[in-house]
Each structure stands twice: as structure tokens, then as C-alpha cells.
Amino acid sequence: MRLEPIANPSLVRRVGLPAAALALTVLMASLLALLAGANPFATLGLIVKGAAGSKFALLETLNRATPLIFTGLAVAVAFRAKLWNIGAEAQLYAGAIVTVLLGTGALPLPSALLLPVIALAAMVAGALVLLGPVLLKTRAGVDEVVTTLLFNFIMLLFVSLLLEGPLKDPMGMGWPKSPALEKAARLPRIVEGLRLHWGFALAILSALAVWVIQTRTTLGYEIRAVGLNAEAARFAGIPVGRVMIKTAVLSGGLAALAGFSEVAGLKGNLTLDLSPGFGYTGIIVAMLALLNPLGVVLSAIFVAGVFVGADSMSRAAGVPTYIADILTATALLTMVLAIRLTRTKIRWR
């Protein structure tokens, strides 16, 4: 078989194929429900209801989407430049550590000043964590996929070290957790009484900012050029190494905001299970959005909905909650295939 590009894919292809990918994912969900001895329709219904069936469910989904928007943006920005940042998990924790360091009474500032200072410092920390692998890539030719992946494990051990040592909560009854943030360092709720914090608004703003950077600035143009063809970009006088570094700062900073927002907005302290793989799920979010920053918001809400819905379905129907992980991974794989097929046709000899 051979693949031939299609210059102008028809509307049927552009809508039909992604829809088919989604249908395959739903089919997979039904199959898994059957395997678990549950009614597929009831299971799907419970997932949807658990994700969006009530005001509470919807807010829970938006809360879960918040860190995913940040990590999704981090991945989208990096992948656009073909910088394979698989280390959003590590950068997230770097942001969380800084949030705890500065938010537990180290800075005597009013909330309106303290929060931006912490957010910025968190971004710097996240950027620094990604700069290591990126400098190894640009200076020593070390593939960043493996180094960023390995950094995730190193960072998790480092967090564990901190939580059992210098950052340990003396009132924590021996649990490895940090002291709680002071009141001034907590992100308030957007509407009093509703469980949705300003981290969500910050995530939306970040998506808009990334969209502006990508479509309206020279840096955005350079990032795209480097991603499309680094050699050609170099030839055209674009400083590829420097663009990579700027991309890394942006990407690492965004991922760190996920840690900031989770600690300051939701949890109030740092534990080892702060992120159930938000960094990795961010890759799914970014790919489903075709690396478009505004699309990231929608796909993050979709992915978060699957997870929140599966949690509540699992309690009611007894299908293991890991169905959500299978479904999002399936959606990723079928969607990248569908997108490829919209732009190419298969020629059998």
C-alpha cells in the first residue's frame, strides 16, 4: 500500500473521519463495559451524567480540566517546535514545590501581590527544569524524549525527599505532606459557594496568550518554522537553538502553572499524589486539539469529563475507573490516524 496526499480534503473526510475515531472510542467503551458485565448504554449514560449531569458534576469537570489545560498547552507549544517535552509532570511538580516554598509564610505580601509573585516564580522553576534537557539537546545532541521522561522520576523522588525532610508538615501525623498554604497564597473561588477557583480563569487566559504568541508574534512564526523544518529554518536565518530555548521556557512555565494552580487553588498543600499523571495526559489533550491552544481548552474539558464521569460511573456500575485511561488513549490513537487519513488516501498498489 502507498499513501498519497490529498490537496483539498472533502468536507466528508474532514468531519467524517474524526467522527469515526470518536465512534470507535465509544465502541471501545461499550466493549469494556460488556467485559465488566455492565450494560454498555447504562455505562455510557453514567459517564456522561457523572461528567456533566449536574452543576456539581460540571464544576468538578472544569476543576479537573484546569491542570490539563496547562499541561496540554505546555505540550502543544513544545510539540509545535518538534521539541518533545514529555516531562510536563516534572515541571508541574517544580511549580508546586515553589508554590509551597513561597506560599507558607516566606513572603509577607498581600494576596494581590503574593499570588502573581508565586505564579511567576513557579513558571521560572518549571522553565529551568525543562532547560536542562533542552540544553543537553542543543549543546550535546542528547535526545530530549528520554531525558525529559527520566526527569519525571527524578523529580518525584525529589518531592518525596522534600516531603519527608525540609518540607514535611510537622503537624502531618507522619504523613509525607507539606504544611498548608497561608490564606493569602490561596487562589480564591471565582464565584463564592461554587467549587471552581481562579486557576481555571488563569488557564483560559494562558490559552489565549499562547494563541496570540503563536499567531501574532515573530516567536510564534519562528516556532512553527523550526517545527516544520529545522534545517530550512536555520538556512533562513532563524536562530534555531535560541527558539528552542524560548519554546522550552514557555512550555516548562505553562506546565509549572498546573502545579501552582493545583496547590494554590485546589489542594492547599503538596503531596506525592498531587498529579495523577496530568503531565502525560497533557500529551493526549494537546494531540486531540491538533496542538491548537484554543482547542486545548475544549479537549482538556472533554478528557477531564471522561475521567470525572468514569469515576462516578465506577462507583455506581462497578466498571473499573481505569476505563477512562483506556478511552483517552484510544481516542488519541484513533484521532491521529483519522487526521492522517483526512489528508492522504491509500493506494493499494
Partner: protein
Amino acid sequence: MDILEIILTASFWAAAVRIASPLIFATLGELICERAGVLNLGIEGIMVIGAFTGWMTVYLGFGLWTGVLVAMLAGMLFGLVHATLTVPFGLSQHVVGLGVTLLATATAAFAYRLSLPEVTSPPKIVPFQPLPVPGLSELPLIGPAFFAQTPLTYLAFVLIAVVSVVLYRTPLGLALRAAGENPASVEAQGLSVTAMRMGAVIVGSGLMAIGGAFLTMSAFSSFFFEMVNGRGWICIALVVFGAWRPGKAALGALLFAAFDALQVRLQQTPMGAYVPYQVFLMVPYILSILALVLMSRRAEVPAALMVPFNKGER
């Protein structure tokens, strides 16, 4: 002083070889994929699925070797998914590989919960037992290290030789390497690059899964969600460290395992009292990064690694 004492014990070397075994399986698997031109980032998840299916098969009452076979087949199935998407369809090997890792890990977790809904701690199986080679196992240091291991470890070492011979001494190996260096030349020989690469990814994934199965069936006798713990990514670093050669990569795995065995033992020494244990646990990951830094400049990367092949396109 401490270090020297540790290195001179037989149990240290036995541990190093034991730790190296799963890495050897998975590193050889990854090496086969990459030699054919496909980076397989599914490795981490494929090791998880191998660890789970092998263990589950034995838990259900089948024999140990049946477990190894089932693990291999499960790995090959996910290899088929990876190969189909990356080879004929030429999708991004990064994205598909990570997708396969997430899918395989999630599948193992789902199947685990489905089959054991109530348990809090996973049941144990009777794993492979050490099978001392008569005579040779009596040798000092080398005996317990290499000749008093489980059958799966012996299999790992046999595979190093098999993979080397197939890669360098057979027409199949030549064609496989050519698919990763100069795919057009494979087509010129009348062979199919697609078939070559898909075959390599499927077989390689089978080996990765056996590496995972080693963890549950020869090392820990139980299945935990976090048990693979980055070993797959470490194996990718080992392939680079071994300059894409089976012997060197296996040697790298042994060296790496020796450091890992050493850090575990150093935790018990006075040094372990004032250095937090997490620092010791970081050692394998830091070593992997160091290995990459040291070897990346010199490495002879297969020329067509990560370059999709579309027939008739130039």
C-alpha cells in the same frame, strides 16, 4: 572501603545479573525495533502488560512458561498496534509510542481491577526458581552471578547471542538493518520495508513484554501498578549507550544493574544514615542521563530511524 567490600561479595554480582535480566530482554527488543528504523516508545507500557499478563496467567493456574508465552503474545499484540500506525500509515513515532504506553498501562490496570476487584494487596505466585548449573555454579563470584540464576536469566543471555547472530550473520538481519539505514535498498532487493519494520516492531515488543514478565515471574512474584517504574525509558537510553549493538547494549545493562545493586547496598551502610534514601533511588535515572550525554556524540544512529517510508516517494 565499604564499596570494595560490597563489590567482592557474591550476592552483589548475583543481584546485578538478576537486575540486568529484564533490562536485557527489553533493550534487545527496543534495539531490534530501532535497527529497523522505528523508535518504540511503547516499551514502558508493553513491559507493564507483559508483567501483568504473565503473572495473571500463572495465577490462573497455568505453567510458568505458558505465562511467558502469553506475556510475549500480549506484547506482540500491542506491537502490532504500534507497527500498524507507525509503519504503513507513517504516523509520528513519538505520539503513537506514548499512546501505546498509555493504552497498555491502562489495559493492565483495568484488567487487574476487573479480575481482582476486592483485593487490597496483590496475590503472590510461585515464581521461577534458581536453577544452578552443576559445577559452574561452584565458581567463586562468577558462579553465583551467572550460573545460579533462574531459567529466564539464562534465556536473556542466550538471546544476546541469538540477536547478534541474526542481525549480523543472516540475510534477514541484513535486510532488517538495511530497513533502518537505507530503506530504498531493501525495496531494490525485492523485499518489503513495511513487512520488515512491522515484523521488527512486533518481535521487539514481544521481547519487551518478556522483560516485563521477568519482574513478576522471576523477581517479585507479584504485580504492582508502579513496578516497571521507568525501566522501559532506561532501556531506550541503554540502546543509545550500546551504540545500537546487542553485545554492547547488554554490557551496558549489566553495568547499569551493577550500579543499581550497589546503590541498594550503600543504603545499608553508614552513608545511608545521612544521605536520604531517595538520593540513592535517583541513581539509576541519573546514570541513564549520563550515559546518554556520554554516548550521544559518538553514537551511530541508524540513518532512517524515525523516517517513515512511503513506497515510490523520494
